[in-house]
Assembly symmetry: C2
Homo-oligomer: 226 residues x 2
């Protein structure tokens, strides 16, 4: 009995997960699939989104754009005629280095959920803290660019473990780098064995069709009756 | 009188700055110049250190290596026969995404300060939080690699404002990127007008002599009698 009580209190005290569940309920009611997209700064989250949002025929996609400040990425995506909502962590959230469930909750009233099938939440560029906060998503996708080096899964294991898909971006630059893709994938499997991974290039478009198909499958799976 | 009192209390409450000052006192007593080196993950902090630590003749250099976990970078630097101390933020510091003054304080007893002229503190790879915490350093240097894009100063202004020198790394890749260096420098000047900047390549060695000279000048300036 005592043990059960303690368990209940622990759950209740995790405010982030409580609020993430409230977000999840709102997303479910609107039948929206939600992806939490994470990476280091400059790995190519926005470029990879620009590549897919236009070609997801039949999937109505929207973006919640997380940044410490400014709206550079939101402006880029809005020019592609998809609904984009900006969420700045320095506006009332102390300039946080990540999104958490409560920040996303504050943006929910501004999201056109009823008009969407897929919402992509582009997190703040950071390989540490975003992995610690669920926001009510169906899946987490991270982007690791080959210019960052092969050691990143070993140095930031929580991030690589937290995601369902790793996009290995900027592979067009491989001929100009000493990056060993097999070594990177070995490090990835050491921290998250067998996790789905796709080599892609936002610049040339290589692998983008597979990334788009993955999003489409996720959106249709989540939309299917349980 | 009342206003003065409030000011004193505010200062006292900023525990990080209080502890940074204690670190500073220890560094001063040992006559060690301290650099806080910051960047996004994979921008090349360790590679740029590997390039300079061997050639700083007459300047005894040591490294305090900050990582969430592991000692990959420390092992790389130790192989160059410089004293390296590892500081992991997940060992008692909750896996923090940055170093703060207290974490550095915990490592001070392990640092061979009396045998050093220059201590480089390699921060956790992150463009947000490391800029918020002084650790007792003489100067802050940040690395921004050209693969990260021209917009980074505008998206992470606090980091670009907090530093005395910006190393623009991976310039060997410029022929293979759409990166516009002038545009990047314009964005840099928009958030930190006139800040010192050096284009470098840890891979080819371009600009490394200038970066080494900068460190040498800093170490001699700080060592001079006030």
């Amino acid at each position: 009995m005592h043990r059960t009580k303690v368990k209940v209190v622990e759950d209740a005290l995790d405010a982030n997960n409580t609020i993430a569940r409230a977000n999840r309920d709102d997303f479910d009611r609107a039948e929206v699939t939600v992806v939490n997209l994470m990476s280091a700064p400059g790995a190519g989250k926005t470029s990879l989104l620009e590549r897919v949002v236009g070609g997801l025929d039949g999937v109505r996609v929207g973006v919640l754009e997380g940044d410490v400040q400014g709206s550079l990425d939101a402006d880029r995506l809005a020019s592609l005629h998809v609904p984009v909502t900006q969420l700045n962590t320095d506006a009332g959230f102390g300039g946080e280095c990540h999104l958490d469930a409560n920040m996303v909750r504050s943006a929910v009233p501004d999201l056109p959920l009823r008009d969407l099938d897929l919402l992509v939440i582009e997190n703040v560029g950071n390989l540490v803290c975003p992995a610690e906060f669920k926001v009510g998503e169906d899946a987490r996708v991270m982007v690791s660019s080959v210019t960052e080096g092969e050691d990143k899964p070993l140095k930031y294991p929580l991030m690589f473990r937290a995601c369902e898909l790793v996009l290995v971006n900027k592979i067009d630059l491989l001929p100009h780098l000493e990056f060993d893709l097999d070594k990177f994938l070995g490090n990835l499997d050491a921290v998250h064995p067998g996790v789905a991974r796709m080599p892609v290039s936002a610049r040339t478009g290589e692998g983008v069709a597979e990334w788009r198909d993955w999003l489409r499958r996720l959106a249709s799976r989540a939309g299917a009756p349980a």
